[in-house]
């Protein structure tokens, strides 16, 4: 299958889109600041103190996190779908995001994260790793679509229940309200501290997955052929699992679980890159970033003062898409 758009052109267009949306994210917010004012404040700091504060400490971290988390979700979605050769594989559907939430919740509400900030992303990614292994264990090595999704549902609901339990047990009456945040995700009022905490892990995860391109291409021919082509499957598994867990774990620990981006984006990009998993990785990362940035802008425009959760929006778009995907897969299987 040949790509309808040249690969470099596609990547260029996606990068431009991400750049535009990044700027859009910086310019969107409840505080009315003029276009030039905000850019001057952001770049040179030559504006009133309050405007500089808003731009550099509130909007910039939000935009950076939107870009990085979206890219992580898109990239891991593409990697998981390629590695498991399963069109429905996605961090949120497989319970990886929900488990990472659980890890983050344990770190924050026990007070561990206050003493040792690094424990937050680390516990989240540990929980994410465990989730991947449990799903693999439950689904078995054959990993047909239905079993894998069932295993993911089981892990998601278990992790969700444990998160709710941990939050309900907290003596802090506000903790129980935060169940919504951990299940639906939000980027509201994040700070640069969150960026410094999560971005190294997300970058590390990207590195691990970036090296998978050739192996994923070979895997489309089946495991036996891939092995005969010199692909070390154990190494591929380790990189895919740890890369996903590290980047999604870190992302979730600061934003909560955001669903469906990892599912939709690879499917949208696949026809555009000619269904080559190695090319899908970069395209999905960029498209994921664009989608999350767009969703985060939309959330702020739709209801500026209620802090609508991003997961609500992604689910509104993602759930119908998911249904369509199920129907399509069933047809092609039959």
């Amino acid at each position: 299958m040949t790509a309808p758009v040249p690969y470099t052109l596609l990547i260029g267009m996606l990068s431009a889109l991400v750049g535009l949306l990044f700027a859009g994210s910086l310019l969107t917010g409840p505080a009315a600041i003029g276009f030039t004012d905000s850019l001057i404040a952001l770049v040179s700091g030559q504006s009133s103190d309050a405007v500089v504060l808003v731009m550099r400490e509130i909007r910039l971290p939000r935009a950076i996190l939107g870009l990085m988390i979206g890219a992580s979700l898109g990239l891991t979605g593409a990697a998981l779908q390629g590695y498991l050769r399963n069109p429905l594989a996605e961090p949120a559907l497989l319970g990886i995001s929900a488990s990472a939430s659980l890890g983050a919740v344990l770190a924050i509400y026990t007070g561990l994260a206050a003493i040792l900030p690094l424990s937050l992303p680390i516990l989240a990614l540990l929980a994410a790793i465990i989730a991947v292994f449990v799903v693999r264990l439950l689904a078995g090595s054959r990993s047909d679509v239905a079993t894998l999704i069932l295993a993911g549902v089981a892990v998601t609901s278990f992790a969700g229940a444990m998160t709710a339990l941990a939050l309900n047990l907290s003596p802090n009456p506000f903790a129980a309200l935060e169940i919504v945040f951990w299940m639906l995700g939000s980027l509201a009022d994040r700070s640069m501290a969150d960026v410094w905490l999560a971005s190294p892990f997300m970058l590390a995860g990207w590195m691990m997955i970036a090296g998978l391109g050739r192996a994923l291409d070979a895997l489309t021919l089946g495991e036996a052929t891939a092995r005969s082509l010199g692909i070390r499957l154990d190494r591929v598994q380790a990189l895919a699992v740890f890369g996903t867990a590290v980047s999604v774990g870190a992302a979730t620990s600061v934003s909560g679980a955001i669903g469906f981006i990892g599912l939709i984006v690879p499917h949208l990009m696949r026809p555009l890159v000619g269904a080559r998993p190695s090319r899908l990785l970069l395209a999905s990362a960029l498209a994921g970033a664009a989608m999350l940035l767009a969703a985060d802008i939309a959330v702020r425009l739709i209801s500026p003062d209620t802090d609508l959760k991003i997961g609500v929006l992604t689910a509104l778009v993602g759930a119908p898409f998911f249904l369509w995907l199920i129907i399509k897969t069933r047809r092609s299987v039959l």
Binding site: G29, P30, V54, E57, I58, I108, S170, E178, D189, D305
Partner: protein
Amino acid sequence: MSPIPRAGCALERMSVVATPSVNEARADRWIPTQGRQAITSTDCHRRRANVLRRALQELTLQRDRLRSRPLNPAAKGKLVPARRVNAFHISLGALRSTRLALLASTFSFLLVSAVSPGAAPTQGEGASPPRRVVSMNLCTDQLAMMIAAPGQLYSVSSLARDPAMSLMANQARAFRPNHGLAEEVFSMQPDLILVGSMTTRATVAMLKRLGFPVVELPFETSFDDMRANIRLMGEVLHQTDRANRLIEQFDADLNRLQQVQAPRRTAVLLHPHSYTSGTGTLANEILNAARYDNVAERLGLSSVSKLPLEQLVLAAPDLVVTDSAWEEAPALAQKTFSHPALLALEATSAKAVSATNRWICATPQLIDLIADLSKAGRVGNKSSMSSAGSGTRQ
């Protein structure tokens, strides 16, 4: 045994397998026919509405009550008439979807409780003062402790002993604690129950059905509401003089604080989760009384609503008041308090950390909070307004 329409119960028995036998055994043993008619049907009804635990509680209560004394005719009239409930049951029998049935039965429960007469606590002028008062709400606890005569108040809620929430934690130790459960309040056999409008609705409804006089103090959103509640408390406790003295003292103190000549400044309250109090809240009235213009009010926010950090930073108020509650149990809710943007705001604004227990209840003790607030930010740049201890103003 009089014929009891069983349609609703039959349906319910299919969905709940284990409990009915236990219930029926108890009902057979302890409840005479007339009582059972009412209880069994209410019971089925409510169990289907997924309040199984409470229904069992009620049954136990009824049993104990019937054991300890003869059924009093006044209370009997307040039980829900069986036939009215069963009309709903039969129509519900058609609903097969569990969720629909749940919704519908919850709804019809509301209807039924609206139909059944509540125990109206009419305290006539000539009636004798209550001698065994149980308060079930943190705020009624504190007002009652200030107004009740010695020996009149029997129990206050366990929250009143918690120094994180109550300003009278020490005084509260003199009374038996209750945890807002119908069963324990029932066993105290009070002759007056004080609740707030936020007190667990199901419990309050049950206590009313059981025939206890319940007085509900409305939620206060202004000093006028507070004065009205103090007056009401004085009336139901037959201590109008004490209540009036409290109000007079508060008004005098408030007047004195208002005399201070100082320019009005701006302030904002920042609660956990970036919430703030705007127009129509008691907190807003407190800020105004302390000669502050509430930034939330200026931004057009009413009641308790979200204040985006961006808007707070741009408004740059003279004083930011944050909560200090539950610092030992971390949650994301309090993360805003340590956001770099807010910390940077301290360069231009004063910041006051105030104990939550000072803001919760509308009592005359608010005067100390108002005094502290009007001093905050004037003396130094930072000030901490911790709990005012447990001093009571009599």
